[in-house]
């Protein structure tokens, strides 16, 4: 009974609005950043370069899922899930194979010759542009829908109002939680996972210990590629599929990786969520939350119509602000990362 009394005293409309606009939205975009940044940070830790093609690997994964969805549109109805989600594991496998191919073809030759990491970074820009070109060549630039049917929308009653979550958003949140737990278990329990952490710690010592570095590198690409494909697919299911789907997200993803500490998977996850939440908090219109206070405020004080910290069109600067703020506080990121 007390609960009801408490709820009644609270500005429910505003709270629900806040949950929908900030908590859910931040969790969604934060999960996408986290899934993407975790793969990028693993590659950075083990291969010592920032792979700027990572964003377009996400887009590629989403397009693979899209093609598979178009080939078997009825598959989802059989299991009661969206088709794109059902074919996603296959898209992850295909994308992982592509990343291994890209590594063999473009990065491995540079590594064996012993070029500096910056050369690999530049090479990754080349791979990025190539992927963007290939995707546009086959699919054009028009936005596409990943859904063959209408999206399910869940309305969770809360104090007489509804918290709204769409099906792809729910799938994204569940997938993120499952993959973070799985990744944690893999890195701390399995032989290859421990070898990945060892190689990220000290690649020379890993080789001296007899660790098969080729195997570790392949595993790293598989994890990075498949998580990127999943992040891209789930994001495209939530919004729509365009060739520049995740290129625009590259900067916040890189920021999330650095904020968390380069090479630190847990850092990338927390960095992703931090950047995601800060983004949504900073473009949120706080005036709406202040409205219930209006009767208590003096007459002369007007609440402006828009009280966001940052106008939506400048959202992209927010990750950099966080980046600077966190790096002043902790120069190596939240979890002590390495200097690239």
């Amino acid at each position: 009974m007390e609960d009801v009394g408490l709820l009644a005293a609270m500005p429910i409309n505003e709270i629900v609005f806040f949950i929908n606009k900030v908590v859910i939205a931040g969790l969604i975009i934060g999960s996408v950043y986290a899934l993407a940044a975790v793969g990028m940070t693993l590659v950075s830790g083990i291969l010592r370069f920032a792979n700027f093609a990572h964003g377009d690997i996400m887009t590629l994964g989403a397009f693979v899922a899209f093609v598979l969805t178009m080939l078997m549109p009825g598959l989802g109805a059989l299991v009661g899930l969206p088709t794109a989600f059902v074919v996603m594991p296959l898209a992850m496998v295909v994308t992982a194979a592509v990343t291994i191919f890209l590594d063999k073809r473009f990065y491995a030759p540079l590594r064996t010759v012993g070029y500096k990491p910056i050369t690999l970074v530049i090479a990754s820009f080349g791979v990025m542009l190539m992927l963007q070109g290939v995707i546009r060549l086959f699919f054009g630039t028009a936005p596409r829908q990943m859904y063959v049917t209408a999206k399910d929308i869940y309305r969770i009653p809360f104090g007489g109002r509804h918290i709204i979550v769409t099906e792809p958003q729910l799938l994204l949140i569940v997938f993120t939680i499952v993959s973070v737990v799985a990744l944690h278990l893999f890195l701390t329990r399995s032989r290859t996972g421990k070898a990945m952490r060892a190689m990220s710690d000290n690649a020379d010592l890993a080789r001296i210990s007899g660790i098969s570095t080729g195997h570790v590198v392949r595993t790293t690409w598989i994890i990075a590629g498949s998580l990127a494909a999943a992040a891209g697919t789930l994001l495209a299911m939530d919004v729509s599929l365009k060739p520049d789907l995740s290129f625009n997200l590259l900067l916040p993803i890189v920021a999330a990786m650095i904020v968390g500490g380069v090479g630190q998977p847990y850092g990338a996850i927390s960095g992703g969520l931090l950047v995601g939440f800060t983004e949504t908090l900073s473009v949120f219109n706080w005036a709406i939350l202040l409205r219930p206070l209006k009767p208590h405020l003096p007459e002369w004080l007007e609440i402006p119509a828009n009280l966001a910290f940052v106008p939506t069109e400048y959202k992209l600067v927010v990750p950099f602000f966080i980046l600077v703020a966190v790096l002043i506080w902790r120069p190596h990121g939240i979890f002590k990362g390495r200097v690239l």
Binding site: R191, A195, L205, A206, I208, S209, G210, S212
Partner: protein
């Protein structure tokens, strides 16, 4: 029969060679110690032996097989382990995980071996869950040697195992080296603390300018006035 024999090794990091004819022979279960001034090529000798830089001339035979320019993975499987001087632990991995990484190529149950390492280095037992990077210098060195022992090597290469350690730990590490050797593992180590190292050595090798300058038993080198004068800092005791 000697377990390791390096014949007239020439090697370098590209450009001029650092080693200009180093020969080293040690029998199984012996302790061999390499000493010499800075830049003599002591560490380089171990690295050349372990396939970390290319041998341009000469040959390395280990346990009856030619291992010249073999890669570390192959060497580890053949029974050769290497402990570098610096950066020789995985700092974010726990002590136990560090040891497990030493046994990466093993597919059998190596838990009894971890127990054995804890017997060699008791302080590690209590800290087995702690990240190796948080340990003291001496304990890190124990982790590093423990990691190398996980393959049950026939020959253990140690690059300045006592560098930067307090005298207490220095003595302890050298004592452990003797114990490991008595357990049946051959040792080849580079040492700055030449006197203490030669005292425990079956064989000593004095390098200068990338060449053998003196070779003999540890005691013979300690007694050699010329060696004492030039390399041990003062007359023989």
């Amino acid at each position: 029969m000697s377990i390791l024999s390096m014949r007239d090794i020439h090697a370098g990091y590209g450009g001029a060679n650092i080693l200009n004819g180093v020969s080293i022979d040690i029998e199984a279960h012996e302790i061999g110690v390499i000493i010499g001034p800075n830049g003599a090529g002591k560490s380089t000798t171990l690295k050349a032996l372990f396939g970390l830089l290319t041998v341009s001339e000469g040959s390395v035979t280990f346990d009856g097989e030619d291992i010249t320019n073999n890669n570390p993975e192959t060497l580890v499987r053949r029974g050769l382990s290497f402990v570098p001087q610096e950066f020789n632990v995985f700092p974010t991995l726990s002590v136990r995980e560090n040891l497990e990484m030493g046994a990466y190529v093993r597919r059998d149950d190596f838990r009894p071996l971890i127990e054995k390492i804890f017997e060699y280095f008791p302080p590690l037992r209590d800290k087995h869950r702690q990240p190796a990077g948080e340990l003291s210098g001496g304990q890190r060195q124990m982790v590093a040697i423990g990691r190398a022992l996980m393959m049950e090597p026939k020959l253990l290469l140690l690059d300045e195992p006592t560098a930067g350690l307090s005298p207490r730990y220095m003595g302890e590490i050298l004592e452990r080296v003797i114990a490991i050797n008595e357990g049946g593992v051959g040792i080849l180590m580079v040492e700055q603390n030449a006197r203490q190292a030669l005292a425990i050595a079956h064989k000593g090798f004095v390098l200068a300018g990338g060449r053998n300058s003196f070779t003999g038993t540890g005691q013979a080198l300690l007694d050699n006035p010329e060696v004492a004068e030039s390399f041990l800092g003062g007359g023989a005791h």
